[in-house]
């Protein structure tokens, strides 16, 4: 088995790339169905092989694979290489990425059937799959950064897929630039690592990490800072961009301008979790800096709480889910901060399935409603779309952490882990994630009730034409609904308390909250029982469901009254705490002002106006003076010669006398 693995890994990466190239470059020749067949086959092959690799590494205890593919370049005696590191951590990501991507490829046939950019779309999402695989399979920071930027590029291309739509192309540019701010920090982190370790290879870095535990670096003044803290915070800034943590989250809600399949694939299930994956991968580094961990903890907590609140006031069905994604990413980040990397990864996996499911469900509603996304114009859809309705119900239950669903296990594990954490900021984080449970339940059920239940706010004409979504749309929904329900029960024991990740994730003993929890863990039923015995979380969840039921089923007029009563709060939430305005005014306009100032004043006035053309002017003035000297009259010259001789003579005599 092990001998074939290298070929298998290569095929996993290259199959989607080949699909993308064929669909992208030969799209006209192979046609629409050709494009979806090659890409679906490519990603399908990749997905099945990933599962084989998963079995090999997770079930059969296969050895970690860490090999170089080729040398990108060598300079100054240092080699920069491209290579794969495959262990239980990367293989988990590979399965999630390829499987969700595969389902979304199939779903796209239905969603994009009437779009003129059909082939281009398939090419992009396959290219995305390739980039994401390069990112997760990398064994070094260089390739990680390659993948990191490449997924950013594809995300940019896909958000702006409908390039005529002004909001879409604005959102795509915004997404790329905000991500670049994160990448700026990320690159500095990589540079710091390179300075400290003289290599970008993970294994070489991790084996020497202890040497640098107490290294310092002077950045501001004379105060030495811990090198590890600087590295980890820089790297985490990268994660904040990609995984949309406050304040670099602003691009994610806007990214909903893109087609729904990519919202599910890129902006919910996979790309946005790259930051979570990266921090887990770098756990040996992060474990050395309590400061960085606290920073992560607090950032995640703020994101989890504040972004969930914004989900309460949105009426666009996709935006509600987008804010929910932000909030759930906050949960994962909090888990990272508490050193519960396994819990973060666990939630990443379950979230990938149920959030992709919810997005695809929303997408199904959107296409059936002819691209209507406003929930105020929906309602009662369960009657016409039973499959979508049931699948979305399962997704919602998983999202709110209904006991037994996948989301229940992963979310409860995070909450428990934070309860055990002793880092600075863990109290605030615990408060945030617990309150977050109520908010999650409230906005999720609000979405579910407003869309599928309650009063039909759809006009009769449209209602007549409503029907269940086509086969290619519902099948992926059903396939994703299954893991959303049952995956948690299967994974919790090995992933959190077993030896699932092995050496891939390193946790310092003093931080090991999961080991702490492991002592009290007695099987799934025990975990369920524990949740019932400490009912705070379950009560909050039930309260959320109940309030949503009251407000959107029982007394649908109530929310409007609440809004008129608390208009101020509502406005703050609608304006997203004013962060978008601030960014637009301060950074976007500010940069343009600085540019104008430097250009008009610096380049045009000072350099060109004063120096360059000023020099030219002085040359003209000077030469017009000098011109008088060349009058052409002999007596002028003779006079000048005599004067000159006299002056020379005077100087000469003066010299002798002294």
């Amino acid at each position: 088995m092990a001998t074939y693995m290298e070929q298998i890994y290569l095929t996993i990466v290259l199959a989607p790339l080949i699909g993308a190239l064929l669909a992208g470059l030969a799209g006209k020749i192979i046609g629409r169905s050709g494009a979806h067949w090659v890409t679906i086959t490519g990603v399908g092959v990749s997905s099945i092989l990933s599962m084989i690799a998963y079995k090999y590494h997770v079930f059969d205890g296969g050895e970690t694979y860490n090999q170089t593919l080729y040398t990108w370049l060598s300079s100054g005696g240092m080699d920069f290489k491209i290579g794969f590191l495959i262990d239980s951590l990367s293989v988990t990501m590979m399965v999630v990425v390829t499987f969700v991507s595969w389902m979304i490829h199939i779903y796209t046939i239905g969603y994009m059937y009437d779009d003129p950019g059909y082939q281009r779309f398939f090419s992009y999402i396959s290219l995305f799959t390739f980039s994401m695989l390069m990112l997760v399979m990398s064994n070094n920071f260089l390739q990680l950064f390659f993948g990191w930027e490449a997924v950013g590029l594809v995300s940019y291309l896909l958000i702006g897929f409908w390039y005529k739509k002004e909001t879409a192309i604005f959102a795509s540019m915004k997404a790329f630039l905000v991500n670049r701010i994160g990448d700026f920090g990320f690159l500095l982190g990589i540079a710091a690592i390179f300075m400290a370790f003289n290599t970008l290879d993970y294994a070489a870095i991790f084996s020497n990490v202890a040497q640098h535990a107490d290294s310092t670096i002077v950045i501001l003044g004379d105060e030495p800072w811990s090198l590890m803290t600087v590295i980890c915070i820089c790297l985490f800034i990268g994660a904040m961009g990609k995984s949309a943590q406050v304040p670099l989250h602003v691009w994610l809600p806007d990214s909903m301008e893109g087609p729904t399949p990519i919202s599910a694939l890129i902006h919910a299930a996979t790309m946005v979790t790259a930051g979570i994956f990266m921090v887990s991968r770098m756990s040996p580094l992060f474990e050395l800096s309590d400061t960085a961990l606290s920073f992560i903890l607090v950032t995640g907590a703020i994101t989890a709480l504040l972004m969930g609140l914004l989900g309460l006031v949105q009426n666009d069905i996709k935006r509600v889910i987008a804010y929910s994604t932000l909030s759930q990413l906050g949960y994962m980040t909090v888990a990272l901060g508490a050193s519960a990397y396994a819990a973060a990864m666990f939630h990443l996996v379950t979230h990938a399935f149920f959030k992709a499911l919810l997005f695809l469900g929303a997408g199904a509603v959107i296409i059936v409603m002819h691209h209507e996304q406003d929930m105020r114009k929906m309602g009662g859809l369960y009657k016409v779309m039973p499959i979508t309705w049931i699948c979305c119900l399962f997704g919602t239950l998983a999202l709110i952490g209904f006991p037994g669903t996948a989301g229940f296990f992963s979310k409860d594990a995070i909450i428990e882990a934070i309860r055990h954490s002793t880092l600075a900021g863990s109290d605030f984080a615990y408060f945030s994630v617990v309150v977050g449970v109520f908010i999650t339940a409230l906005y999720s059920c609000r979405l579910f009730f407003m869309t599928f239940h309650g009063e039909q706010r759809i006009d009769i004409e449209t209602w007549k034409h409503l029907h269940e979504a086509p086969f290619v749309v519902t099948v992926p929904l059903i396939v994703l609904a299954i893991p959303s329900l049952i995956l948690g029960a299967f994974l919790i024991e090995p992933m959190l308390f077993g030896d699932y990740f092995g050496d891939a994730v390193h946790v310092a003993e003093s931080h090991d909250v999961l080991a702490h929890m492991g002592g009290d863990y007695h099987g799934i039923s025990g975990f369920l029982l524990h949740a019932i015995q400490h009912p705070l979380v379950l009560l909050l969840m039930s309260a959320g469901i109940f309030v949503a039921w009251l407000c959107y089923i029982k007394f649908p007029d109530f929310p409007a009254k609440l809004v008129s009563k608390f208009g101020f709060v509502h406005r703050i939430l609608l304006n997203k705490y004013g962060l978008d305005d601030l960014n637009q005014r301060l950074f976007a306009k500010g940069a343009i002002r600085i540019g104008q100032l430097l250009w008009r004043f610096g380049d045009i006035n000072i350099i060109d106006g004063f120096f360059v053309n000023g020099t030219a002017r002085s040359v003209r003035v000077f030469s017009s003076m000098v011109r008088h000297l060349q009058s052409g009259y002999l007596y002028h010259y003779a006079f000048a010669i005599i004067i000159g001789l006299l002056v020379l003579l005077a100087v000469f005599v003066h010299g002798i006398l002294n």
């Binding site: 080729y70 040398t71 990108w72 370049l73 060598s74 300079s75 100054g76 005696g77 240092m78 950064f145 390659f146 930027e149 490449a150 590029l153 940019y156 291309l157 702006g160 390039y163 005529k164 002004e166 192309i169 604005f170 540019m173 790329f176 630039l177 670049r180 701010i181 990448d183 700026f184 690159l187 500095l188 990589i190 540079a191 710091a192 390179f194 300075m195 003289n198 670096i217 950045i219 940069a591 343009i592 600085i594 540019g595 104008q596 430097l598 250009w599 610096g602 380049d603 350099i607 060109d608 120096f611 360059v612 030219a616």
Partner: protein
């Protein structure tokens, strides 16, 4: 060895020059013949450069393909040619780019096509001469002679404000080079030779080195260009025809960088050490200050010109960061990395800026406007063009996987070793570069069509596709696998770093 028998460097210099003169003689009447002949000469020159690459021995530290003959014996001036690992990539770049500009002119230049082709061919020969010359006076002759065809290119085929631009271009660069000549004359008095390698070894006092450094600085900083002597470039670019802009950006600027490597650093190492902080500061100003200026440009060519200056900031940063690194850690490894990164940045910028100017050229040929506001929604009528331009825009923004990333990455990595804040400031280009490039792309290419003229645009034809395709291939290859380019530079750059780390003060 066979290459000793073939004067490859002379062929690289004189084939295009003689071909150019023949084109001129043939005149405008035989338009088709002239075009095909010029194209054939360009291809032939490129083949010579490829042979040069194949026969080049990357493990040999000295000059290769050396040709030496007496020229002006009274002053010991020689016709002395040779290449090493930093000249070779630039010769390859210049021969490659010539093919592109000749193809780019094919149906576009209507006025005096034979003069145009002649100017470019002669220019190529002279540029190869600059990169191959091992005699300071020979270098100077090629260097100054190059101004003439460029002057004519902008002056004859340029835009409406071409006279101001040409005069500014000529005076700026000429003024700088005069100081270089003075420095050469002084060095002759010290070394009794114009042989560049002899000049590398001649001992000099720190004061003398400082003056020489400043004289060289005036020549090379104007050419590359560094802030604050950069203002000729946007004007020259805006007025130049597409081919002129391509050569200007892809090659003329690189002469400044090459000059720093060939003259400033090895001849005045102690002065370079003395001035290195100032040079780093100027480089960082170029990266950030110019990045902001590029953001607000309304003229596409100006925007790309400013972005060129910003990218050249990485070149000078990479050239002078080794001094700071060796002062901070004493390790030559990162110093070499910074310098090779800067070389890579020069080569890569040659491809990317050429591509960006060609893209603007493609649009300008159809619309006769360079203003961003006259466009919008180009993707609707020119989808293939839009795809190419997307790739080049991303390369311009330094996306990994394109050649634009490699140099910036290495320079940032190595400058972190010297100082956190240098790396921090340089890395701002990640944000600024993306901002000005993507905003340009968004305004020009994306969106609904707002102008009737844009709706009528024809997508790129076969010739244009071929040019952009060639560039796309090299941009991607050097992004995915830059190793071959580095392999030919290693020995030379190592030797250079070794050389500059030793004092020349007696």
């Amino acid at each position: 060895m066979t290459f000793n028998s073939l004067p490859l460097l002379s062929l690289l210099i004189w084939t295009p020059i003689i071909g150019g003169i023949w084109v001129l003689i043939a005149g405008d009447r035989q338009e088709q013949t002239v075009k095909y002949f010029a194209f054939a000469v360009a291809i032939l020159t490129f083949i010579f450069s490829v042979i040069l690459y194949c026969w080049f021995d990357p493990d040999y530290a000295g000059m290769q393909f050396v040709e030496e003959a007496d020229w002006i014996t009274t002053f010991n001036i020689k016709y002395h040619l040779g290449v090493d690992g930093i000249a070779l990539p630039l010769i390859l770049l210049s021969s490659f780019t010539t093919i592109l500009v000749i193809l780019a002119a094919w149906e576009v230049i209507e006025k005096h096509i034979s003069y145009y082709m002649c100017a470019f061919l002669v220019l190529t020969g002279l540029m190869n001469g600059v990169f191959a010359a091992l005699d300071a006076i020979l270098f100077y002759v090629y260097w100054e002679a190059m101004l003439i065809p460029m002057f004519l290119i902008i002056g004859i085929w340029g835009g409406p404000n071409r006279v101001y631009a040409t005069v500014k271009f000529f005076l700026y660069t000429f003024l700088g080079s005069v100081f270089m000549l003075v420095a050469f004359l002084y060095l002759y008095s010290a070394a009794d030779s114009f042989n560049i390698q002899a000049l590398h070894d001649v001992p000099l006092s720190l004061t003398a080195q400082k003056y020489i450094f400043i004289a060289f600085f005036l020549a090379f900083a104007v050419k590359i260009p560094m802030w604050p002597v950069h203002t000729w470039l946007p004007d020259a670019h805006v007025e130049a025809p597409t081919g002129g802009s391509v050569i200007l950006a892809a090659l003329m600027l690189k002469m400044g960088g090459y000059g720093f490597l060939r003259f400033s650093l090895p001849i005045t190492p102690d002065a370079s050490l003395f001035f290195n902080e100032a040079m780093i500061v100027l480089s960082l100003i170029a990266i950030v200050y110019i990045g902001f200026i590029a953001l607000v440009q309304e003229d596409m060519k100006k925007l790309i010109a400013y972005s060129s200056i910003s990218h050249m900031g990485f070149v000078t940063l990479g050239f002078f960061i080794p001094f700071s690194i060796m002062a901070a850690s004493g390790s030559p490894a990162s110093a070499i990395m910074g310098m090779e990164g800067a070389m890579m940045q020069m080569i890569s910028h040659g491809f990317i800026s050429a591509a960006m100017f060609l893209c603007v050229g493609v649009m300008y040929d159809r619309m006769h406007s360079r203003m961003i506001k006259d466009y919008g929604g180009v993707v609707n009528s020119m989808p293939y063009f839009a795809a190419f331009m997307m790739l080049f825009a991303m390369a311009n923004a330094g996306l990994p996987g394109t050649s634009g990333f490699v140099g910036e990455f290495l320079v940032i990595l190595s400058s972190f070793e010297a100082n956190f804040w240098i790396a921090f400031t340089a890395a701002l280009t990640l944000i600024l570069g993306a901002a000005y490039t993507l905003w340009l792309y968004k305004r020009v290419v994306f969106g609904e069509i707002t102008q009737d003229a844009v709706a009528k645009l024809q997508d790129i034809n076969g010739r244009e596709t071929f040019i952009l395709f060639l560039l796309a291939i090299v941009v991607l290859i050097f992004g995915i696998w830059p190793a071959p380019l580095f392999d030919i530079m290693h020995v030379t750059v190592e030797q250079l770093v070794q050389h500059v780390s030793q004092t020349k003060i007696l």
